[in-house]
């Protein structure tokens, strides 16, 4: 009989390990097809404002440049917002690539250059002149913390209701600490960049090799956005070179590759640059304040934890940052709060232990501070309150 413990202490090879380390694994950008065309995405140079003029004449004149897609020349897409949403879209209005002249964040894709070779597409992209009208932008959570609001919908569960009277308990505590924790934006940036190779099969049929953590999500997106039948769209993702959550939603290179393949009736590959890997979802920057109180023996008697996260102006990404603080340690007087600030950035996306990484980092730091203030061993201070110590495994 195989039990979980049979694997403990025994080396186990990944199923796909050998293929990956020997280079045999084929990733989305490595699929080829006859007449494959290459796409390079141009990113916005401003963080907010609008595109006034696009002059692509010099680029399109180059022999081998096939097309330059912008908001000015694309058509035949879904009209409804809902078509651009996916199963994990937070509430709001999903981002639509190349939709209009509006710039909502720095690095927003504004044009797609398609050419016979990657090198030519990249060179042609440098010749496309884009004139912007820049508007003031807000990208600093710290600067906008005064504009924090309570989200309409808690995507991952709302903060646990207050227990006892945290303020009174804090005021009466023998030992008290208060501390602020600030975490900057974190980008997933896996080794494999986002890439899609879209093979147009004719008769409105398409096969897409996509870097994604959810082929069905990518498939649904393509069907909805481009009005294709479900049985005419096939999305394949044999290997993923790291994603950490960033592949949970379709990313904009998928839209770009399918858009071009459909319009040009030929296979198209679009790969994000390393720089463009910073231009979509991320773990949100977060500001946190904790106040902890303990009695003279170091026992936790009061806990307040307030967090402010960041979201875009078009979707409301709320995550569970603070609830862990009422779960991990026994405390009779707790109060938790979570708010959001809208910034001119792309909407955050889940990243490895979303919310918990942020909240527990702050909580654990604060517990250390409390133990230090109480003059007791930080581990010894935690143990008596650890919830779940009656679990067999921990004994």
């Amino acid at each position: 009989m195989t039990t979980a413990t049979a694997y403990i202490g025994t080396p186990v090879s990944r199923v796909d390990g050998q293929a990956k380390v020997t280079g045999a694994a084929k990733y989305a950008a490595e699929f080829k097809a006859p007449r494959l065309a290459h796409g390079v995405i141009i990113s916005s140079a401003i963080a907010r404002g609008r595109i006034v003029r696009i002059n692509a004449a010099q680029a399109i004149a180059l022999q081998g440049v096939l097309e330059i897609f912008t908001h000015e020349n694309i058509s035949g897409l879904a009209i409804e917002d809902a078509c651009f949403a996916d199963a994990l879209s937070p509430p709001g209005s999903p981002f639509r690539p190349l939709y209009d002249d509006k710039i909502q964040y720095s690095g927003q894709p504004v044009a797609l250059v398609i050419a016979e070779s990657f090198e030519l597409a990249r060179f042609a992209a440098t010749l496309v002149q884009i004139e912007y009208e820049a508007a003031e932008h807000d990208t600093s959570l710290e600067a906008r913390r005064g504009h924090a609001y309570v989200p309409e919908k808690y995507r991952m569960g709302e903060p646990v209701a207050a227990r006892g009277d945290a303020d009174a308990a804090l005021a009466g505590a023998a030992v008290r600490i208060e501390a602020d924790y600030s975490v900057p934006v974190e980008h997933h940036n896996p080794m494999e960049p986002f890439a899609s190779t879209a093979i147009w099969e004719g008769d409105d049929r398409i096969t897409v090799y996509d870097k994604t953590q959810g082929v069905l999500s990518s498939k649904q997106y393509i069907c909805n956005v481009f009005g294709l039948n479900e049985d005419a769209v096939r999305v394949v993702s044999p290997y993923v070179g790291g994603a950490f959550g960033s592949g949970l939603r379709p990313q904009y290179q998928l839209f770009m590759a399918v858009l071009a393949a459909r319009a040009l009736k030929r296979p198209v590959k679009v790969v994000m640059t390393r720089q463009q890997m910073f231009t979509f979802g991320h773990r949100p920057a977060t500001l946190q304040r904790l106040a902890l109180g303990a009695d003279k023996d170091g026992r936790l008697v009061a806990l307040t934890h307030a967090a402010i996260g960041e979201t875009s102006r078009f979707e409301e990404f709320a995550e569970n940052v603070v609830n862990w603080s009422s779960l991990l340690y026994r405390c009779d007087n707790t109060r938790l709060a979570y708010k959001l600030v809208q910034l001119d950035l792309y909407t955050p996306i889940d990243m490895r232990a979303p919310g918990a990484t942020l909240g527990l980092f702050a909580l654990e730091c604060a517990m250390d501070e409390l133990a230090f203030a109480a003059g007791i061993d930080p581990l010894g201070q935690r143990w008596p309150h650890a919830v779940g110590q009656d679990i067999e495994f921990l004994k």
Binding site: A45, R122, F123, T126, Q275
Partner: protein, 331 residues
């Protein structure tokens, strides 16, 4: 990337003749920086002259008892050369503090001197940059400038020189051997790189028609008391926020001769002569180290995100001097 032509040369005379004949030409050796710049459309040479076949790949003694490092010797081979390790360990340590093993295997000594700043805005062609496009403006002065200069910058450019190797070469008073069709000349290391002033597009005093053939190290190697201390945001594969090359000749408990150079703080490897003067002939005490460090940053100017560098630089100087005296290795 622009289209470009490619020529391979096999002797120095042809190399300088080819480069002088085409104002869009650039030499390429290891290519660890130039190829990146070409991919980002920052460098747009019309022609690449491959110099990897030139006979400049030896390390050998000089007549005055110093050491000549061929321009095409790879950084890794220089750092692990037995003579360099025995006589100029400061240089070896500095080289190994930079880049990654893979890059050091490719990058050449001459190329290390010629590498360009890693200022974010220099690389981002969507933003103004006086170094990339003179007169366009500097995005870093009011932008993200954590990695930028605190010494010798101008209102045109606050970029830093990124090399670790060059910081040690500045402290060791190396000289750069260059050649053109006119003949050979020697550039003292302190005069090789330059401050930005009103012409930040010019990194150094090498003329476009010249080639670096070697870097000469003088006989004094400071092998008894030295330290290369580099502070950065990641423990490896990151450029210095501040680095210090300290080289001392001790005279009992006193400092006979001090050499001090800093990286990550200026448009060029920053030789701290005023601090050296304070240290020369003085007891090796914390008080004197602090006084020397304070002298280095007396005219420092910071730009917001790099404010911390003024204090950090002083701390790194003091620590590097302490380590050079004790010869403990930095953690």
């Amino acid at each position: 990337m622009n289209n470009f032509s490619y020529t391979r040369v096999s002797d120095v005379a042809s190399a300088v003749r080819e480069v002088a004949a085409d104002s869009t030409a650039k030499f390429i050796a290891g290519g660890t920086n130039l190829v990146d710049l070409m991919k980002e459309n920052v460098a747009r040479p019309g022609r690449l002259i491959d110099i990897t076949q030139l006979p400049l790949n030896r390390i050998q003694g000089t007549e005055d008892g110093g050491l000549r490092l061929g321009a095409l010797v790879r950084n890794a081979d220089t750092a692990y050369d037995e003579t360099v390790r025995a006589r100029y360990p400061l240089l070896s340590k500095a080289i190994l503090a930079g880049a990654s093993a893979q890059l050091r295997n490719m990058a050449t000594n001459g190329g290390n001197l010629m590498q360009r700043t890693r200022c974010y805005y220099f690389y981002d062609t969507a933003t103004p940059c006086n170094k990339r496009k003179p007169g366009a403006g500097c995005s870093a002065i009011y932008g993200f400038n954590r990695i930028h200069a605190i010494l010798g910058a101008s209102d045109q450019c606050i970029a830093t020189h990124p090399s670790d190797m060059c910081v040690a070469l500045a402290a060791l008073e190396a000289s750069v051997q260059v050649q053109s069709s006119e003949g050979q000349r020697q550039i003292p290391f302190a005069k090789f790189h330059r401050l930005p002033g009103d012409t930040p597009q010019i990194d150094n005093t090498l003329q476009p028609y010249e080639i670096i053939t070697a870097i000469d190290l003088p006989p004094r190697g400071f092998a008894e008391n030295y330290c290369y201390l580099k502070l950065r945001d990641r423990a490896s594969y990151a450029f210095a926020l501040v680095s210090v090359a300290a080289a001392l000749e001790m005279d009992g408990d006193c400092i006979g001769t001090a050499r001090l150079a800093l990286g990550g703080v200026a448009h060029k490897p920053w030789r701290a002569s005023d601090a050296e003067e304070i240290l020369n002939g003085k007891p090796a005490t914390l008080e004197n180290f602090k006084q020397a460090a304070a002298a280095v940053v007396r005219h420092a100017k910071s730009y917001g995100e790099n404010d911390f560098k003024i204090e950090l630089a002083q701390n790194v100087i003091v620590r590097a001097l302490q380590l050079a005296v004790s010869m403990e290795q930095p953690a």
